[in-house]
Amino acid sequence: MQPDTKAVPIDKCRHCGSEAPVDVHVCPRCDRLMTLGRLGDYFTFFGLRRRLVLDVQELDQRYRALSRLFHPDYFHNAPPAERLASLERASYLNDAHRTLRDPAARLEYLLKLEGFAPKQSREAASAVPQGLLEEVFALNEELEAVEELRESGVPAEAVAARLDEARRPVEATLEAHERRLLELAQAHDASLESGDAEGRRETLGLLETLLLERTYLTNLLAAVRRHEAGAGSART
């Protein structure tokens, strides 16, 4: 069973009572903006299937077209209910566009839609993912060694060079993760097309782990950069 081939949820026009699927923005009978229902999602809003590989230019184009359809600028003289519908729809459109445009945010959103990745607490987010344990320990040791070096008065250039060295394996892992994420995203989309629901869920599970690791790696690199900035300021 595929979630996105389920019957599309239906919304009712607040004005004439006509029914329309949630991805229809304008009432087919009375031509008014539909009040934003809460049953749809960012993908249906854009008229897209739940694919992870998106053509950003096409997304932007749809975004502009939809903006033209219900931006508050064009409902200035409309009755209050219509104005509110425009504001809500335009807000939702902007939020949806921002989320779908960024691959990481898109993946995170899809995982949430599909029941993966429950909202994490701060502690869970800062715990070292299992697959990265070894690498993280190695880096921490290296960072401590660098800190000692710096305190012992080694020239700042040498410290910076060590940090550069320490960063390289993390960067390589991150790059490998990016490649793997893309492969899995493509695999996900293929399962979606072929109707392989089981394969799709399996891929989503892998993506969830990988996304967590990727976030962790990005934070780790930021930490190394802070160390480097420290080395830079030690020079002056």
Partner: protein, 622 residues
Amino acid sequence: MSRVVGIDLGTTNSLVAVRRDGATTVIPDESGDRLLPSVVSIGESGAIHVGREAQRRLLSDAARSVYSVKRFMGRGIEDARGEEQWLPFKLGGDPGSVIRVRLGERTFTPPEISSFILRELKRRAEAFFAREGDIDPEVSAAVITVPAYFNDAQRTATRDAGRLAGLEVLRIVNEPTAACLAYGLDRRRQGVVAVYDLGGGTFDISILRIEDGVFQVLATNGNTHLGGDDFDRLLVEMVARDTGIDPAAAPEAVQAIRKAVIQAKLDLSEFEETRIEIDSLPGRAGPYSRRLTRDEFEAIIGPVVARTLEPCRKALADAGLDPGQVDEAVLVGGSTRVPLVRREVERLFGRAPHTDLNPDEVVAIGAAVQADILVSGRREMLLLDVTPLSLGIETMGGVVSKIILRNSTIPASGGEMFTTFVDNQTAVDIHILQGEREMASDNRSLGRFKLRGIPPMPAGLPRIQVRFQIDANGILSVSARELRTGIAQTIEVKPSYGLTDEEVERMLIESFEHAQEDVEARMLIDARNEAETIIAATEKALRRPEFGAIAAADLDPKELVLIHAALADLKQSMGGGDRYAIQVKAAALNQVTRHLAEVMMNRTVQAALAGRAAADVAAEGR
């Protein structure tokens, strides 16, 4: 149907424009002046003067006059530290609440003072439409521009000012975005545009992408306390050091210095050197005069200009672009006439910036275009702007939890779930902040509110969904609902640096008591305005470095004596209240300077021809 106008409510000057039948006009006053100096002065009788007249009163009655009030919109007294001593007006108010400006016996909030400026623009526009023969010249609604980097409190203060002036504010639009709209109007533009907007008191950088008639802001950054005023203050400080003037003891003298250094600043955009000249200063026998070269000026203002570059880099980074990916750079704001500013912008973006539209007028034109879009509902063009600062709430330990990130396209919304800490708790306090810092205390407090009416339940059980909505004006509203019971919550936001609705209502009523204007007083003001234009033009000519050579070659010595006499005569009559005397003496000065004007004009034409000839030769040589 009454008119809808676009208003640029500037730090130094304000303008009003209208778009009709596809043409946009910046509306002049009766004497043809399109800029209204954003200066307000309160007379002894309580009469409110705005514009040129208020500017003159800065020199005679400084303590009753206020300029650059925009710098204090949506701010508190603690934000004005360090510049207070140079201001002729006194500031007050409690820290953490709305700043107050004391003028004579009365105190005003910045929105009230701004409303006097808006009222004058409204009057100016209505007089213009009446002259044009409109049956209903009334102006009831406006689009007003603000710096892109204005926070919620500053935007709300601007909207309050509009209400106080009797204007329905249809939309608050960001100045660089409005400018971009004006630029993109006549051409079918596509691509990435960087708008660098350095005004009197604020700096903005906005990066936009234009495609299919949609003007989408990708990122914005800036500083709402950085502008040409800072150039002026540095020069005033220099002259004050030179002369030993104590700013606290001689506010009028500071204003005389300020006027002279502003003139010198303007001169240096055109010439390599000028003189700062002040007729008289307290404790000084003769006039003050000092040579100032462009190089010296640039050394003085260099650090201020440098402070605009970091926001540019941040905006580019947020837009995910390198400077090389910017297709066009556009300059907005009077301070971008300064050659050093132009050079720095050119260096940063690696291309010569556009200057084809008047940097003083382009924002007002854009505002008028946006007003036209709103009223007509025509869909060829669309502005998609962003919120400049992240919005968040204070959580445990004074840390900010961000709900809407900066540079999110507006309208935008965000939500957060709250619950209770003790059993049967029926209210929760929420503190809303704007800014990028981690700790609540480092960000701008927008307001606090109490969620009331939570049904009594064991601690942690209620699920209160709070929704934050930023509308197309960049202004926030908050709503809340308890999800278990579906009960909507009452929210009273107490704005930190804003006015409550009741305060605005009360001010509106008070303002009617002061609304009557004297026709004769207005005519006197118009006469002074015209005279001032002639004086400024004459003095500018006399100050030109090459004037000595010109006078020796082309002017009769007697002529020069006559010019100086007529100039002194007119200046003397300016102080009095006799409108006819001013008009007669202005005409006299105009008469005796006619020959001088011709000589100057010929020189300019010859110089231009010589320049072109040289360029032709160079082109042939290539």
